[in-house]
Amino acid sequence: MAVTANPDSPLLEIEDLRMQYRTEQGPVNAVDGVNLEIRRNEALVVLGESGCGKSSLAKVLLRTLPRNAGRPSGQVRLDGRDVLALSEDRFRREVRWVRIALVMQAAMNALNPVVRVGEQVAEPLRIHRGWSRRAAMARAAEAFEEVGIAADFLQRYPHELSGGMRQRAVLAMALVTDPDLVILDEPTSALDVLTQASIMNVLKGIKRDRGTSFVLITHDVATSSELADRVALMYAGQVVEEAPAEAFFTAPAHPYSQMLMASVPRLRQEAAPVPIPGRPPSLQDPPAGCRFAARCPRRFERCADDPAVFHPDERHRVRCWLHDAGGTG
């Protein structure tokens, strides 16, 4: 943990972040003016359908972008310092896996099949901290216990572990350097209900015991509520609503958020889920004005203009004209 920073100042601030992919059909605006703030010991859920730019956001933050990605613009400040401007070398030494770790989508299937999992979990410590093998393995054993795997599994190969255990091992790998922030991209989407729930329990425990901050990227509304302090909903490369979990799950403000909540199948509710008609727009050539307008039952003339961001409450932001103080929202 950084000791110099003021504990009340945000850990990570993202300001007007933009990133394009170059494709044969022209540029794709995957991240298109995102503003977010993550505080210490806070879990921010970034929610959205596939293709909304949420995984690209994670890749920008950790600089794990593919070759066809353009240079991101905007600012990403970690403890007030712009890390987007750092050289790759300094970013690797000072940020990636030292302060911010990433659990990529399907990472559990990316473990090296011919290396014992213990070695792989210890690797970040040896590379980023220069620890000896013995010390790194000892710490990896602790991380294993923390995520709920017996330490003797360190000697196993990935194929000897179940899917749930491999996901825990990947989580241990992200925690082993004791980062301030862990970014999780769909950490439970390939897992069973019971395994999912127990991994969410592990994350809750780590947040409580270590004070780690999380960015949880997912399309799964129900699972996201297991960890969320705050929720940012993305649509077509932009954040359309950002709110405390309480407000988002009980009284969402953006029409898209409301329709998304109504589309979730619920076990303990009579009402059948209602699908959202239509498809998200192309990120190559997003429509002018509000990007959700074509699917929105409450659109009106003003939606032809790009919506401003309104604040219905403190720390609650909505990109929708309905919430203009003079509007009908």
């Binding site: 596939s50 729930a197 076990l267 509710q269």
Partner: protein, 332 residues
């Protein structure tokens, strides 16, 4: 036991077993995977039932056995009164025409080099449906039925030009083409985006009702069964441990495993983040060496010493249409 038992059910699985032999170097037997191990249920014509279970519980092996893709190693499946084991050649082909299959991965279900028309015409040709104009008519009707319109335009597309949801619609259209009596949908939406899942489930539900097709909906996601199935069967380690009408199962689960599944499952709620969930320890057992007695006993919070680890629980009937394989439900 079944109030609708006046007529023969559409499908009967009677102590069904599908075991796979594990061999080393192709000939030394090293074990047996008991993927389906004594499954009993009946399915009425036009009925929708969900099979719920974790991965590795044998639910896909059950699907493949019911489809005739795996031969059962024990027990029997009867479809419209006829045993599947007796079906050979033309009779098996005829059976396959009456049972549609919607698999998990739409991206792998459609041949990438065939346009939609060819992919849909193939089963019609195989089953000798003609002439060509009749096949074209059926293809267009099926595409319209699943909402892929205009059909004339969709016919010429290739799978890679379609979204995952559209591909799954094509797979459903293909399953409907031969006018089946039963559709087996194995995790039909787990690879799709959350917002598309409900659309596809709605579609399956609608065609199932409109054509009075029976549906076996296999899923790991209990939260979707409520609106898309009338009855639920919960599978654990190769067996059905509980089956009941959906509302009964949700309101009063009788098997501790079902209780665990229900308590692990979140509906969106900000309160979820404030407490830990009760999850039974451990993982689903190996199907090669399942535990003796009740297969859930090593993880069961209510296991009774001297009973659950030694004796295999039979099905008890806590309510008329409710069955649970658990010693806790043994009548006094």
């Amino acid at each position: 036991m079944n109030t609708r038992a006046q007529q023969e059910p559409l499908l009967v699985a009677d102590d069904l077993q599908t075991h796979f032999e594990l061999r080393q170097w192709g000939f030394i037997r090293t074990g047996t995977v008991r993927a389906v191990d004594g499954v009993r249920f009946t399915l009425d014509a036009g009925e929708a039932v969900a099979v719920v279970g974790e991965s590795g519980c044998g639910k896909s092996s059950l699907a493949r056995t019911l489809l005739g893709l795996n031969r059962p190693t024990g027990g029997d499946v009867r479809f419209a009164g006829q045993s599947l084991a007796e079906l050979r050649g033309a009779a098996m082909k005829d059976y396959r025409a009456r049972v549609g299959y919607v698999q998990q991965d739409p991206y792998g279900a459609l041949p990438p080099f065939m346009d939609i028309r060819r992919a849909l015409e193939e089963p019609l040709i195989v089953h000798g449906i003609g002439p060509r104009a009749e096949r074209e008519r059926r293809i267009d009707a099926a595409l319209e039925e699943v909402g892929l319109t205009p059909a004339a335009e969709m016919r010429g597309k290739f799978p890679h030009q379609l979204s995952g949801g559209q591909q799954q619609r094509v797979v459903i259209a293909r399953a409907l083409l031969l006018r089946p009596k039963l559709i087996i949908a194995d995790e039909p939406v787990s690879m799709l985006d959350a917002s598309v899942r409900v659309e596809i489930l709605d579609l399956l539900h609608r065609v199932q009702r409109e054509h009075d097709i029976a549906l076996i909906y296999i899923t790991h996601d209990l939260s979707t069964v409520r609106h898309y199935a009338g009855r639920v069967m919960v599978m654990y380690a190769g067996r059905i441990v509980e089956q009941a009408p959906v509302d009964d199962l949700l309101a009063a689960p009788q098997h501790p495993y079902t209780e665990a599944l229900l308590s692990a499952l979140a509906d969106p709620d900000p309160a979820n983040a404030r407490h830990m969930r009760e999850i039974p320890a451990g993982e689903a057992p190996s199907l090669v060496t399942p535990p003796p007695g009740c297969r859930f006993h090593p993880r069961c919070p209510q296991a009774m010493a001297g009973v659950c680890e030694t004796r295999d629980p039979p099905d008890f009937h806590p309510a008329p249409e409710h069955r649970a394989a658990c010693w806790l439900r043994e009548p006094e």
